[in-house]
Symmetry: C2
Subunit: 232 residues, 2 copies
DNA sequence: TAGATTGTTAATCGATTAACAATC
DNA sequence: TAGATTGTTAATCGATTAACAATC
């Protein structure tokens, strides 16, 4: 019996090093597609089926999944429930993540009410806004609802809720200041919707969602297509 | 004088082939950073300065810009205004792009009111929702405002406005159907906020913005960091 | 056993980086 | 001319793909 692959030195096989960013970015897609399959009563899926449903090639899918471990059965495929669980564990969805949202304008409002968070273990535990007129406003239904608190409560909210993830939905001008305060209060992951490049120390992860950028990329390709039509 | 680089066979040098997706995705960032510099009265910028402000390496920045043409001056840097214009032209921001938004819930509402669109040539020309209670609602101020129209008007709106970009902000269940109708009506670029993998024919570009996915990627890294702290 | 499908390898492709000649 | 900085090259790195041996 050849030792093809040493047993991980750590308890959890998934904790091996070297799962690439590109793979991590696709895992949530697989997770969602698999969850929806499970809901429809599908119990087993092949890499080909899952790949098509996820919009990737089956080779890429198998390669991605192989980073988590050997969870398929040759000649058969993957057990949907088991794979959902393994991906969730890899992504850290088996634990609860307290999230604070700063800037409760139109967008912050929409984010606070987004159902897709809670169902994946993200618990919105704080809503902050600098506008005194907005402070105190209650979002959501009473039992689970949350009141908007003044921005000055930021440090307090982060510490009492032990939130490690902050969502910035403020105007651009306020974003860096809020970011600095979040980091100082102990937040180490930031999802940024403000159209600015945030400066953060090492060890803090920032992901940026930029609506204008997305449209601009589409416009670029739209222009290409329009040029191509022109030539034809 | 050696012919190092043939003149493009097309009128516009920027229309050369082979500008990579990775580069295209960064151009909007450069464009925004440069615009903000111009607003502050900066007239000239070096690749090093622009790179730092954009959060990339200067080598990457110069490589990216070199795909557009030779718009810098050795020993000096880049003229801010000129570079802004060249990037805008490359991205197709020098023309107007009519955009329709489908699904005017919290998120669609926020998108419709987002100022970052108009300032970059994206004109929201249609708002559609399937909820009769919402139809007729006026968004924005009177002169520029827009009324929500019934979903059944989709084809009509796309055709009369000649929109080639559609934004889907509907619930997941409705997204594919709306997508199919948009494509049938002639839309060739789609920005999808619904948490589903859309199926589209070749030639249609889809970009997906997925809030839950972004948080899940952060959670993955957060878990890693927490593991690392545990071990320390 | 025969058929199916995984997990992995090796080849390919593409993007990033470092370094520097060109040139202002 | 001396100093600065671009544009480009070549090396490196990482991700994707195709193919197939392993194995259910």
């Amino acid at each position: 019996m050849p030792i093809e692959q040493g047993v991980s030195p750590r308890g959890r096989s998934s904790a091996r090093r070297g799962i690439s960013e590109a793979t991590v970015a696709r895992l949530p897609i697989y997770h969602r597609v698999l969850t929806s399959m499970a809901d429809r009563g599908v119990t087993t899926v092949s890499s080909e089926e899952l790949a098509v449903a996820s919009g990737v090639s089956s080779a890429k899918l198998r390669k991605d999944l192989s980073h988590l471990g050997s969870y398929g059965t040759r000649g058969v495929g993957y057990e949907v429930d088991y794979l959902v669980y393994q991906i969730a564990r890899e992504l850290g969805l088996t634990q609860d993540w307290p999230v604070v949202i700063i800037g409760i304008g139109n967008l912050g409002h929409a984010l606070a009410g987004y159902g897709g968070f809670a169902s994946r273990g993200f618990r919105v535990v704080g809503l902050l806004d600098s506008d005194p007129a907005r402070v105190g406003e209650q979002l959501g239904q009473e039992p689970t609802g949350l009141a908007i608190r003044p921005l000055s409560d930021l440090e307090d909210v982060v510490r009492t809720t032990d939130a490690s993830i902050g969502v910035i939905a403020t105007p651009a001008i306020a974003a860096q200041g809020v970011c600095d305060r979040l980091v100082a209060a102990g937040v180490t992951s930031i999802l940024n919707f403000a159209p600015v490049v945030l400066n953060t120390p090492d060890g803090v992860d920032v992901r940026k969602v930029d609506l204008a950028t997305e449209l601009q990329i589409l416009a670029f390709h739209e222009q290409r297509k329009s040029d191509a039509r022109m030539r034809a």
